[in-house]
């Protein structure tokens, strides 16, 4: 695969062009990854609104009916429900791993078996999350799709 980078000062927006002879699974995955850079989530902090790029999001969790967006060292509140966020981000690297928990699988460091048919995941920032048993198959399938041959 040839990678060509062009510096064009006049461009208003970064452009990515992919040329292929045949659409393969790997190209589809690459497109998905590039597309996630287009996604931003609206987060609130001290009544200010912030646009958070998806690639900075570690996980999203609902606690006490409030939805929080967790970054490496920062937390923002979202005014949307976890279901709305999940459907908006369908096809990106965000997947559901619990009833009230969404994970960005790009932030996965490692996994460990955990009692009661669950999995404990370690994120790149050292935080740990639990994957409920009903979401393990989905997680495995996504890891296989994203990282498998």
């Amino acid at each position: 695969m040839k990678l060509m980078l062009q510096h064009k000062k006049e461009l208003q927006e970064t452009e990515i062009e992919i040329k292929y002879s045949e659409m393969t699974e790997r190209i589809t995955q690459m497109i998905q990854y590039i597309r996630q850079y287009d996604f931003v989530i609206e987060g609130f902090k001290e009544d200010k609104v912030y646009k958070i790029p998806l690639e900075q999001v570690y996980y999203i969790e609902t606690t006490d009916r409030k939805t929080f967006i967790y970054l490496d060292n920062d937390v923002y509140e979202s005014r949307k429900t976890i279901q709305t966020i999940e459907s908006t981000l369908e096809g990106t690297t965000i997947i559901r791993i619990g009833k009230a928990l969404l994970l960005n699988i790009s932030m996965l460091k490692s996994l460990k078996p955990y009692p009661n048919h669950r999995i404990k995941v370690e994120l790149l920032n050292g935080e740990h999350l639990l994957v409920s048993r009903r979401y393990i198959a989905i997680l495995k399938e996504r890891i296989r799709r994203e990282y498998g041959a």
Binding site: L108, K112, H117, I136, R144, Y147
Partner: protein
Amino acid sequence: MVHKVLKTYLPAISMSFTVIILFAGIVKWILGEKQDVFVLFAFEVVAYLILTCILDELIGRINFRTYISHFITESVLIYPITMLFAIKFRWIGVTAINIILCSVAYFFVMVGIHLYFYYIEKNNVAEMNRLLEEGRDKNG
């Protein structure tokens, strides 16, 4: 090979065995042999297994932090139901030796089931970690 036996053949044999026994039981039931000991035993065992599955699902809602606490809780809660079925449906006679033997068998089966799932989950996670590792190597 061991992994394939545990992950594929063992569940396949267990499922086929259950379906065959249930099917044979249902056929005998339809043919009018409703008091056949084999038919009754098959249906009692199925009822017992369904009940244990429901209990497992309910116990699964508790946030256990160690494998041993999950094992002990589940074993203690399912034990009286097992003994109730065993005595009520006369799977065993009500003698001290029978109850001890049944309890020992129950303990070994529970240990076996928990070890089996631990092994499967450990392998499952190892495969996911391997995929993550390979993906990272591939992407530099």
